[in-house]
């Protein structure tokens, strides 16, 4: 007789207790709730100020990439699967770069203005594709950055292949680090709050059932425009910030890594959770720095991770960890004749 077993999952007692008002009954329960939430915040804070200078630079990049991942996840939650997040990054970067280069604005003006400009331009560029759904939208987003790349290359506007160089630098690394970290947490908590608000629910509904949204008398395209504006604004900020951070902006801003990284970290972390991409990006950022010596082979590793995770662990690390944290797992015997998929 073959012994069939399945995995049974039961919520931990403490989870059941803390789901309710009793969560503030004892310190232990408070700690159970607060610990996983505080761990990344405190961890990142400590990490940021106690690592050697080189890794501080890596952290700044990681924070920016995390914001890109958050923005990708947000847009995906609205049903807009973008394969060209680099577009927003590049448009923001070039906006800030040209504001600084041609108008001589200081960085504290050119970054916010560049962000706004970038978001507006990106939204206008994406607009023709907004009436498309699903894969069709992804196809167009994949194409547009490559098209713009050609435009810049051919018309030689904004520095052409060389890009814009000698831009205003950011303040010393400690401040830069602080600004980037604050921006990241603002994005994170802002998006989380936004998604859970009444207004944000409409955006989520765009993905689940846009017909229902339309039937409710709301204009889908207008909401998609807003979603793209928010998403591209976040990426444009990253672009603008990184432009000043590197003191130059060039055609590499359109590079495929920048489109791939947000997707990879969201998939690894867990899509549609906002917290997942954060986790994924914080893991993948330093990893990609460590793999720098591999050159383009790095992208192969990303891509392999991506394909592996979507098929083998589609829920992502975040869900996996959350399950381990909240539930007890054990193998139980299944009565013969009853099978479960």
């Amino acid at each position: 007789m073959s012994l069939e077993r399945r995995k049974e999952r039961i919520d931990r007692c403490i989870k059941a207790v803390t789901d309710d008002i009793f969560c503030i009954c004892s310190l232990r329960e408070v700690a159970y709730l607060v610990f996983p939430r505080m761990l990344p915040i405190v961890g990142v804070l400590l990490l940021a100020f106690f690592v050697p200078p080189y890794w501080k630079k890596v952290l700044v990049i990681t924070f920016m990439m995390t914001m890109m991942a958050l923005s990708w996840d947000f847009m995906t939650s609205c049903g807009l699967i973008s394969l060209g997040q680099a577009l927003f990054f590049a448009v923001g970067g070039y906006s800030a770069g040209s504001l600084n280069h041609y108008l001589g604005l200081p960085f504290y003006l050119s970054i916010p203005l560049g962000t706004l400009m970038g978001a507006t331009i990106s939204t206008l560029l994406i607009f023709p594709a907004l009436r498309l759904r699903g894969i069709y939208f992804s196809m167009v987003t994949l194409i547009i950055p490559l098209m713009l790349l050609r435009v810049v290359e051919v018309t030689k506007i904004m520095g052409g292949t060389e890009g814009l160089t000698a831009l205003a630098p950011l303040p010393p690394i400690v401040y830069t680090l602080a600004i980037s970290m604050i921006a990241m947490w603002l994005t994170f908590f802002g998006l989380r709050r936004f998604i859970n608000s009444d207004y944000g629910l409409i955006f989520m509904a765009l993905k689940d059932n846009d017909r229902a949204v339309e039937a409710a008398g709301l204009n889908i395209v207008w909401f998609k425009v807003q979603a793209v504006f928010i998403g591209s604004g976040i990426c444009s900020f990253c672009g603008a910030f990184m432009t000043h951070y590197y003191m130059s902006v060039g055609m590499s801003a359109f590079a495929l890594d920048l489109s791939l990284f947000p997707i990879a970290s969201s998939v690894v972390g867990g899509m549609g959770t906002i917290a997942g991409p954060l986790l994924g990006a914080l893991l993948l950022g330093p990893l990609s720095e460590a793999l720098r010596s591999f050159g383009t082979f790095r992208i192969v590793i990303y891509a392999a991770l991506l394909a592996g995770f979507t098929t083998a662990l589609p829920e992502g690390i975040f869900h996996y960890l959350a399950r381990k944290y909240h539930q007890i797992e054990r193998w139980v015997e299944v009565p013969s004749g009853v099978s479960e998929d």
Partner: protein, 286 residues
């Protein structure tokens, strides 16, 4: 110029055909298309130059190998993700990039990586000298289209393809295994892709960046034409082919890609379902 536009259009049609047949049947948008295209070229080059096999044999080997790879991608990865559009897109995209960047990191770059022309020389058509290779491409394109038409309309497997494309559940109930058909469609799409690679690549060098270009071109053509209709794809290929040649003649050859893609955006803005999209497709796309 007219002649070159025609040839250009055929090249586009060849590139887009593999993509559109996979998508039309299995609804899997194969973003690994560009990767498979270059991989096919690279494999042919390898067996031709490094292993010293005859051209014909190495081309066949490459076609079979990539066709097998396409089936493998479906069997190992995509079968778990059927219906999850997002995951399908991400996975095929990742596979395509993995192939391309792997080839790049293995040093596929430079002038030495090129396939020889089948036949040197050129003939005059309406007073325009045209390389024989390009004529072969047109012939092959036409032959492939004809073969595909016969296959889809007059063989059992081909009819099963159309069945699954039209209504998967009904196809299932008359004994067609949609998974098997989808697997075959991905495999055949990959094969067509390599066939076109073998014929088109001798015109230039094999480079990784071409892989991305091919993917973009295939997508652009399919979007303009309306993804599901083969007629639309062919028409769109010729439209883009002529647009490119016109741009190259009257503006500058470096603008060709830009103008082609801009026209794509314009068409999307005016008619989101593509030029030959039907109402059913509008349901799905818009």
């Amino acid at each position: 110029m007219l002649v070159y536009g025609f040839i250009n259009g055929t090249i586009y049609a060849l590139i887009a055909l593999g993509f559109s047949i996979t998508f039309g049947v299995s609804r899997v948008a194969n973003f690994a298309h560009g990767g498979l295209y270059i991989l096919g070229g690279a494999l042919t080059w390898y067996s031709l130059v490094k292993l010293g096999l005859p051209y014909f044999l190495s081309a066949i080997l490459a076609v079979v190998a990539v066709g097998f790879l396409g089936a493998l991608i479906y069997r190992v990865l995509l079968i778990r993700l059927r219906g999850l559009e997002l995951s399908e897109v991400i996975t095929t995209f990742a596979v395509g990039i993995a192939i391309l960047e792997l080839l790049r990191s293995m040093g596929l770059m430079g002038y030495e990586y090129r396939l020889p022309l089948f036949v040197e020389g050129s003939v005059d058509i309406f007073g325009v000298p045209v390389g024989i290779q390009r004529i072969i491409i047109v012939v092959v394109g036409a032959a492939l289209l004809l073969a595909l038409y016969l296959f889809v309309h007059h063989t059992k497997v081909g009819l099963a393809f159309r069945g699954v494309a039209q209504e998967e559940h009904t196809a299932l109930s008359v004994g067609i295994n949609p998974d098997r058909v989808s697997l075959l469609s991905l495999s055949i799409g990959s094969m067509i892709c390599v066939i076109s690679a073998v014929f088109i690549l001798p015109l230039g060098t094999i480079s990784v960046d071409d892989g991305y270009d091919v993917l973009i071109k295939a997508l652009a053509v399919c979007i303009i034409g309306g993804l599901e209709s083969t007629i639309g794809v062919i028409a769109a290929s010729f439209i883009i082919g002529y647009i490119e040649v016109l741009t190259a003649t009257y503006i500058s050859s470096s603008y060709t890609m830009v103008v082609a893609l801009a026209s794509m955006l314009f068409i999307l803005l005016v008619k989101p379902s593509g030029l030959f999209g039907k109402s059913k497709e509008i349901e799905e796309r818009v």
